[in-house]
């Protein structure tokens, strides 16, 4: 009989600690599938952040090292400059990449570091209990915006992908989501491409992934999927935001 579906080789046989319906587990699997398909398992160094995915090294069967909150892009830079043969990816939440680590991210992109950032936008700080993130939508209730995020008081949801697209050294930026089988397939393609851009030494690549956090959104997994379509994509539209490879200077 033909086996049509199996656990990726680079995904360890551990049980995820994530909440039911959380996007992290889907995204982990997608990254591992891509690593397998691109035959990168023995070349990859992954950098997980503090955040719900802090234990990512228990799941990815590749070399991994913890990073301080927000510093993923700087750590990845140090790795890549000191050991260019490594295939480096950071795995960062929105609190991490779009808040405390904005400077590191923008400047790594600006230097055109050949690293891949997987940016999980779930519009909250998950791990610390659902506080406002830089990406929290206007009006969205979180534990630190109990009356709903008010742009006048708390600022606007920050659009990191659009910001990074303006940065010269960024080669490929795409926003995807993991809230439907079709979107999950697109997410995988985007991750694949982001690694390809790195292998081609074309510059900084980032995939922003709109990802459900049913627990902190106080929704069922199904409602969370719908909320991404109905609310999140209005502020964070899906699609390729920058792709220098389309100019024909890549594979």
């Amino acid at each position: 009989m033909k086996k049509v579906f199996t656990r990726p080789k680079s995904l360890k046989r551990n049980t995820f600690h994530y909440c039911p319906g959380c996007g992290h587990s889907i995204i982990h699997r997608l990254i591992c599938e891509v690593i397998d398909e691109m035959n990168l398992q023995d070349k990859v160094i992954g950098i997980p952040p503090p955040g719900c995915s802090v234990f990512a090294y228990y799941y990815f069967d590749v070399d991994m090292a913890e990073s301080a909150h927000g510093r993923g892009a700087a750590v990845a830079t140090g790795i890549k400059r000191a050991f260019p043969e490594a295939v480096v990816f950071t795995y960062q939440g929105d609190g991490d990449l779009a808040g405390i680590g904005t400077a590191e991210t923008i400047h790594a992109a600006n230097r055109g570091e050949n690293v891949t950032s997987i940016f999980i936008n779930n519009a909250v700080y998950g791990m610390t209990g659902g506080q406002m993130a830089p990406t929290t939508l206007s009006g969205q209730k979180t534990t630190t915006t109990p009356y709903g995020r008010d742009a006048i008081l708390e600022g606007h949801p920050i659009k990191m992908s659009e910001i990074l697209a303006l940065v010269e050294g960024a080669a490929y930026i795409e926003r995807v989501a993991v809230n439907s089988p079709a979107n999950i397939r697109k997410t995988k393609k985007a991750i694949h491409k982001a690694f390809q851009v790195q292998l081609g030494k074309l510059g900084f690549a980032m995939v922003e992934i709109l990802s459900p956090c049913p627990t902190n959104w106080k929704m069922s997994p199904y409602e969370a999927w719908q909320w991404i379509d109905k609310e999140m994509t209005k502020v964070f539209p899906l699609g390729v935001i920058k792709d220098i490879t389309e100019r024909g200077d890549a594979d």
Partner: protein, 357 residues
Amino acid sequence: MVAKVLMTGNAAIGEAAIRAGCQSYFGYPITPQNELTEYMATHLSRRKGCSFIQAESEIAAVNMVYGASLVGVRTMTSSSSPGISLKQEGISYLAACELPAVIANMSRGGPGLGSIVAAQSDYFQATRGGGHGDYRTIVLAPSSVQELADLTHKAFDLADKYKIPVIILGDGILGQMMEPVEFKHEAPAELPIRSDALRGARGRPSKFIKTFTSNPAELEEINWSLFRRYELIKRDETAYETFLAEDAELIVVAFGIAARIAKGAIRTVRTEGLKVGLLRPITLWPFPYEAAKELAKGVKQFLVFEMNMGQMLEDVQLALEGQGEVSFYGRPGGVIPTPSEVARVISRLYYQKGLNK
């Protein structure tokens, strides 16, 4: 014979680092250590297999060091006081992950933005951990350009030997003054990669480096193991110098540039017949407690001289355990006293305590 060259202290650190096999430097400009960042830009950035980045901040720079150390190359950063405060996050992570790295602090007056001249007010920060958590870093305190070069080389060896961040605690003047210096090593042609480096799982199972745990007992074990290593460092790496201490009635304790000034002062008072000597800790952590205690068997008067308000003073008091009497002379803020000022302080104390009788 190795030729002597005239160099600033900051440049000497850079040259010594390259000759120690440092393959990557990540920095951010701050006075008074810019010559080091500039030296690395000139001499390291285009070297084969090496990298240099002027980072966007000290926080980024130290995290790049963390990345480079993860993959097993010799790596360093440098800064001065306010910048070192920002690097503390990364230093704590380096210590926790048992990653070697060299961090030079050519310190200046503080707190706050402070002054841009030499000061020694980062002693607490350097020797007490500085960042969060239960950890130590080796702290080396050179007092000449030659020693800056020698200790920079040593810093890389110690960092690798004990898998620990090593801090070179210099200061503004030391970094900017020029002195003849001799480099005893050639830069290695083939640069060594640490055997435990994280370089992709080729030919072995994957591995990870982490510090976070939800299990306090696991972290306690890690802390115990770190502290067992710190005990070895205390036993084997404590370094100090004494100067004219054999017949001394009064011992001045000073480190770094202050020790250099104190030496000048001691030479002066010796010509007047005052029996004064010096204890100069070369490792500030581990502090030479035993050496101080040993001296206290013969000497009853100690004068701690620092360019701060009395930070090493606490270590000297701890070392003496109530033996001997400790006085203090401190000049904070970046004020650099002259040897004759210090000589006056020494002789006043000498006569006050009746040591001339």
